[in-house]
């Protein structure tokens, strides 16, 4: 195989070729670094490329594999990681000018785990400022490989762009209100928000402690499975991390969906926030799930459309408290929409925060009750495909205060449940559309099974963005 073709392999296929010694980790890493050097000016997906370290790690992986010490499916696989994660000796900005010169003394556990698994970290990916809004970038704005005049979705925008543009084999994002699934759906990728606590958050710049999760953004379901397998597991440095043993998620892939019950959340499908073509595309995916053997029924989650408001309160208040010193001393160093969000969060009354948490309790119970009857719940990830890039507009009325009402991810963040976005077609503009699959806490394997069956029954994951 021509080495320039290596970046277009899935991480799973690349992994198998590395294990069989048909491809060397150094070849693969060099191929990705060459693509980044020649193409990333179109996409702005990386904030820092770790060329020398990546080549050294790839060389080490090659030597280990040659000596019979293969560490598993991520060994030698080139990965990109969001700049929200500490990286030892490497600038970690969190997408903010405030941390432009911050160089951590240790790796976040997710990066340490990737290294333990033998993965090669290519660099740190671009993101919205501190991952607390969907749009504001303090460095260059990432561009969507499906249409470089369109936005990628955020906050893990660079991980989305890099993965879709074949500038890494797989990547890590962080999802507080949808920041993995949002770029995954808009960039035509697979993105998984794991169960809260499944993946350590040590060394992850904080958004909302009860909602933050780290997970994969990948080109295939298998790639997401092997990426998650490398980073999940208990971490003594994160007291809230799960102690449940991590399975090999690849074991969940394959087979039909006979016997599975799938609930379609009606409130989202009937919402005026879903464009007609998106509704049709996602409805078609439900039909495919039925053809694969699942029983597909409608289910009502009455508070589901209120998830956006309840989570918006939490997403404003908690970062404002965590960053209160910077807000007082460096307010003008923040980008426009983050500045307004943090000031808003600083002033929200305690009663509002308390009510939002009570609504969360009720919503979570409704979700969990539905998941007693259904193995997974499905809905569109977003009511719209990727939107054209625009300047961060000022808020000129109450009606223009929210820019993310069409994003349907937050129901699972509030419910502490895992959820995945998987490509299911295209909108009227030819931009990708995502099917969202949520399950009860700890049921990642069920999500992988459903998503993989759907993926293998369709061809969406085989399509290349024209810009890549």
């Amino acid at each position: 195989m021509n080495t320039s073709e290596l970046p277009f392999l899935s991480a799973g296929d690349l992994s198998r070729l590395i294990q069989s010694k048909e491809v060397s980790p150094v070849e693969a890493t060099e191929a990705y670094l060459d693509r980044i050097a020649s193409l990333d000016h179109r996409f702005n997906s990386y904030l820092t490329v770790m060329r020398e370290q990546a080549l050294a790690d790839a060389q080490q992986a090659e030597e280990d594999i040659a000596s019979g010490q293969h560490k598993g499916p991520m060994h030698g696989v080139p990965v990109a990681v969001k700049d929200q994660f500490w990286s030892k000796g490497v600038r970690s900005t969190g997408g903010s000018r405030i941390l432009a010169d911050f160089v951590p003394g240790e790796d976040a556990t997710v990066i340490a785990n990737l290294r333990k698994a033998g993965a090669v970290v290519l660099g740190k990916t671009n993101m919205t400022e501190f991952a607390i809004t969907g749009f504001s970038h303090r460095y260059a704005t990432p561009r969507n490989p499906w249409n470089t005049d369109s936005y990628t979705g955020g906050s893990s925008s660079g991980s989305g762009a890099a993965t879709a543009a074949y500038l890494c084999a797989t990547s890590l994002g962080e999802d507080t209100g949808g920041s993995i699934r949002f770029p995954a759906t808009w960039c035509g990728l697979v993105g998984l928000r794991p169960s809260w606590g499944l993946v350590s958050r040590y060394g992850v710049m904080r958004g909302v402690w009860s909602m933050d999760t780290v997970g994969p953004i990948s080109r295939t379901v298998e790639d997401a499975a092997i990426t998650l397998g490398a980073i999940a597991g208990h971490d003594p440095k994160d007291r809230y991390s799960s102690t449940v043993p991590v399975p090999d998620y690849r074991q969940a892939l394959g087979g039909d969906l006979n016997g599975l019950k799938i609930g379609v959340i009606t409130e989202f499908m009937e919402s005026g926030l879903v464009e007609p073509k998106v509704r049709q595309t996602v409805s078609d995916s439900f039909a495919t799930l039925g053809e694969l053997g699942a029983t597909v029924e409608e289910v009502s989650v009455p508070l589901s459309m209120d998830a956006g408001v309840a989570s918006a309160v939490l997403l404003a208040v908690e970062p404002a408290l965590a960053q209160q010193d910077w807000i007082k001393d460096q307010l003008q160093d923040y980008g426009h929409d983050v500045r307004i969000l943090l000031l808003t969060g600083s002033l929200l009354p305690a009663q509002a925060y308390y009510k939002a948490q009570k609504l969360r309790t009720m919503l979570r119970q409704q979700v969990l009750d539905s998941l007693e009857k259904y193995d997974v719940l499905v809905l569109p990830t977003s009511g719209k495909g990727a939107q054209p890039l625009e300047q961060d507009p000022p808020i000129t009325s109450k009606e223009t205060a929210s820019r993310l009402a069409f994003l349907f991810t937050r129901i699972f963040n509030l419910a502490s449940c895992p959820a995945m976005s998987v490509p299911c077609g295209f909108d009227d503009r030819g931009m990708p559309v995502g099917l969202q699959i949520g399950a009860r806490p700890g049921a990642e394997e069920t999500i992988f099974k459903v998503a993989h069956a759907y993926e293998q029954a369709t061809a969406w994951h085989t399509m290349r963005p024209p810009g890549a």
């Binding site: 449940v244 009455p302 808003t344 009354p349 609504l359 109450k398 205060a401």
Partner: protein
């Protein structure tokens, strides 16, 4: 509920050690009023009977 005015927003900021002036003041006013209005409109039956539980702890 009545919208908060700029003067009220400014006073709330002062109470938490923030001196908020335009152009931020106007945008924060819209942002805060929009959020409070949306939240005020959500009153499902039984809300007063639930506790504000932020998470389900992962299995030990």
């Amino acid at each position: 509920m009545a919208d908060l005015t700029k003067d009220e927003i400014r006073a709330m900021g002062h109470a938490v050690g923030l001196e908020i002036e335009d152009p931020e003041l106007t945008e924060v006013m819209y942002s805060l009023n929009a959020l409070l209005e949306s939240l005020d409109a959500i009153n499902p039956p039984g809300l007063n009977d639930v506790e504000p539980l932020p998470i389900i702890l992962p299995p030990a």
